[in-house]
Amino acid sequence: MNKHASTGLGAARISGGVATDQKHDSARKHVTGGAVYIDDMPEPAGTLHACLGLSTVAHGTIRSIDLSAVRAASGVVDVITGEDVPGENDISPSGKHDEPVLATGKVEFHGQPIFAVVARTREEARRACRLARIDYDELPALLDIDGLDPGGDRLVTAPLTLQRGDATAAITAAPRHVAGQMRVGGQDHFYLEGHIAMAVPGEDMDVTVFSSTQHPSEVQHMVAHALGVPSHAVTIEVRRMGGGFGGKETQANQFGAVAAIAAKRLGRAVKIRPDRDDDMVATGKRHDFLIDYEVGFDDEGNILGVDFTYGARCGFSSDLSGPVTDRALFHCDNAYFYPAVKARSAPYYTNTVSNTAFRGFGGPQGMMGAERIVDEVAFALGKDPLEIRKRNFYGRNGDEGRDVTPYHQTVEDNVVHRIVEELEASADYKRRRREIEAFNANSGIVKRGIALTPVKFGISFTATHFNQAGALVHVYTDGSVHLNHGGTEMGQGLYVKVAQVVAEEFQIDLDRVKITATTTGKVPNTSATAASSGSDLNGMAARNAARQIKDRLCDFAARKYGLPKDQIKFLPNRVRVGNQEIPFAELIREAYMARVQLSAAGFYKTPKIHWDRDRGAGRPFYYFAYGASCSEVSIDTLTGEYMVERSDILHETGRSLNRAIDLGQIEGGFVQGMGWLTTEELVWDEKGRLRTHAPSTYKIPLASDRPKIFNVALADWAEAHEPTIHRSKAVGEPPFMLAMSVFHALSDAVASVADHRICPRLDAPATPERVLMAVERLRGETGK
């Protein structure tokens, strides 16, 4: 537990309430190595270890499987194939039954799990795995989406179209128009703790699985289906993950299912922890996109009409590709008003690993399309892209006619104008742009660039029913509180934020609230901790539980002391009852003696939201989160190498529950986003093999890649427009997209070699190679 100075009975404020900077609840354990991740838990006696055998072709039918050498290998206890799955051999989260636990008959991507070896040690399991002999009849593999047709080629799920006005007519009628295509790469999550599950068999049908998952309820349901048992037989528990970022939203199902199947077959605990390479090869990533766009605009730079097709490489199964590509469309506007718009998604089937959730969930890719068309307009007119951005923002609140999104939701909480104005001033954008121009005029090799980009991100699961949450709060007779909720802790500080909410509600010090591991046995049918919704939903549910108990305590105290309820007030660590103050713990003891229930299950569902996918209209988002960033870079035009010289961020998180935690989310999200758009490049070869499957080949940012000067500020004037938990706003995903300013600063630096007359049309990630090649292309086109 964190050490909080206990505030005693006379204090004016509790220690650790909302809107205070609290440390991560596990910070002390993190730094001492005492924080227990699943691989650190003591294993039950006789624990076995599983390893997955993966497909070595991208697409084919399995002609024969010879696992005799695997079975005979040292230490091997069992080998499991798809035929051995006792229930349904499926872990598809979309309900489309398109993703087996273990492939049978055919394989659809290189790295698809076909069998599992269970051995005494992990090393023996790994060694045995390599002895399998599997023959395939190879089939043509569809690896890339370039050239695919949304109308003709196979999709993994139904596409979406958003439409408002007549985009084609608007573009045709516009004085100017530009069309183009942009490639936006995928991203591996590279959570430092890879996937892991440990299943411990219980009596009857029961099994408990410790799973590194953002979605315990889904793992529970998938394990139950795979075992062919009711969900009540399966308990999933997770205290913490070593990072998730969306990579453990559905991808933990596989490991949970394999561990549970093996554990029930063998009656022994089974742990599965793929090594980094297998984790990267066999689990899904951020979708890469190919965005076709056309934009019509006038000579001032007003966007008049846009047409987008967002093609996504989804991989072999639907997984979350439907909602991911939907969210890309929901963000094809970023912060811009389109008078006429048509945007359609094309979630393509490919013979690659099934892509999945990743921080932003398609939103970042959607916004990249928006920012590209802004760039096109700016270059076509010879104007600063920032001018085009500001010109096309959604109207200020109340500015009717410029406040409706492509999905027909009215933007009611727009603060992008103020954020961008303030950031433009604090980052000294205008002066620096002039200085950069002067620098570039004199510098032959090194060129600088600057860009300021906004973010408007919709908050809520777009599947309305996911926007619910539960919590369980117990108050023990000593006045200490046990808190549990459906949200999972992956480092984002959710647990401490929700604990702050409960401490605030009861007016007790934070160290009186015990944060406990997320488990399906305490709070059922939870949604994934995703969509930035963790504190919004679980904070509300926990507050609801605490309020139920408080109400009972008020009733009890009013009854006992013969006072009206409004004479009962919760003060820091005490309760005022009429003219006397009773320590909180004392009141609890009295309530217990009077047989008052001191436990409550809390619940919350987000109000106001609705979404009609067939019509492409509704209010999918409860509110929007806003921010902006300004970045300056230097590029070396001999090698394409670059550096981020400075980034300034202004971001709003409403009335923050915990600014320290929010600041960490913003800084971390930004750098992670930078990685996505700069050095993180996923490379598959012609055989469909992922060639970047470990940190030696897949390059996430280092400390020396972060902006050399990094100024991050929270908009302290911000307050949630809607009655969210203590008027705070979600912070998990929105900052990720602030990194677009780095990408556009690189583009700006590249553009300088052609006097900003040609749009560099950089693809992402903008590796040094892409930067250099863009410089070469621009120089070629201008004859310089």
Binding site: R28, G34, M241, G243, Q492, G664, T697, D705, E769
Partner: protein, 489 residues
Amino acid sequence: MARRELRFLLNDEQVALSDIRPDETLLDYLRLTRSLRGTKEGCAEGDCGACTVLVGRLVDGELVYESVNACIRFLGSLDACHVVTVEHLKGSDDALHPVQQAMVDFHGSQCGFCTPGFVMSLYALWMRAPNPSDEAIEKALQGNLCRCTGYEAIMRAARAVSSYGDAGKDALATERSAVAARLAELRDGARVEIGTGKDRLIVPATIDDFAEVLEREPGATIVAGSTDVGLWVTKFMREISPAVFIGGIEELRSMSEKDGIITIGAGVSYSEAHRLLRARIPSLGPLIDRIGGEQVRNMGTIGGNIANGSPIGDTPPPLIVLGATLTLRKGAARRTIALEDFFIDYGKQDRAAGEFIEAVHVPVPDAGTHFSAYKVTKRRDEDITAALGAFSVSVGADGKVAFARIAYGGMAATPKRARAVEAALVGRPWEIATIEAAMEAYRTDFTPISDMRASAEYRMLAAKNLLKRFYLDTTGTTTPITVKRFEAV
């Protein structure tokens, strides 16, 4: 008489192991055998740093602690060393160590999985440099990946550590002489031999002992820093028995300079080589800083970088253009060859069975010679070379190129000279027109491949442009010719 057990200190405890495999990693030993689970596995290839621990060893009688990757460090390399894990930072009371307290107070952890590794890297830095510059912090953290924080909070913590405590009063400082004495005691001058049949490891006591062992066991796997061999085990599950661990042989770790020639023992680590080379051949300093992360540089050796024959090793191209030679030894017999001739083809080097590299000899370029080496990578630090160019050129009084030696890594199956390019330079004026003309010659010298690091086209273009950068570097232009994170001090 060979000793049949390996002995080292683990935190406060002396360990003696007589039943270990040659491929047993320190990380597995800590986590599985000792249940010391504060040290994490993130990648098992020395790239993420979640497994960072400190290893203390005696260097010329002085006890030196360095950060290393436990995931690719074999137990066999730890004889007479002091292994310090995150668990050792726990003081007698409940107080946190200054590094830990700073990390807590500045919100340096989010998911926490990488955190023990960061703590250990920062601990090593703090002992060495209690008030480090940002440049020093970033360098110390090149081998530690964090996916959550964006590093800013960790940087704040790193700058503040000394305000939480005095590095001179730290346990590892106050107990230094006592630990040094214990390690000296463990160093009994005996060869260590453990295991039989398929599972054998040998730790020779001296260089002569090593020569003898290798002559007897020509098929043995030589393990120095294990930054490459470690991956043979963790990634490819290759058998390495019998493994001969040479990291502790002092004669292989010596460096000296005589008559303008620096002699580097094959077992000298990148970090150790950096100290001398940076002073004598300054442009090698920044290059070595970009090899691996700090942990890898503390383990990996110059000899290993040469011996494994990789086309993307970072030291061969510059050493080739400097005219380095190798001493190879087999038993008592020694021979000397030009480094350039060592690399025959992909995976094939001029090293006989039972032979080993003893030392590399590097002539210091004379004052009139321009020398530089540049590495191009996707990510600036801790990345493997896409293309690396090394250049040594001298220009005569007539303004014409008198001597040119150029070599590249990443452009061919071996580190390779650019002879056609050299020929296009020699005898011509050292001016941009000559450079641009020489660029045509690259086609003769190189046909690079496309892979996950770079396309052939990019490799070729960047390689040519490095020649231009080198030229500009020699002419002292006033505008910058490359992006620099920190100005040279």
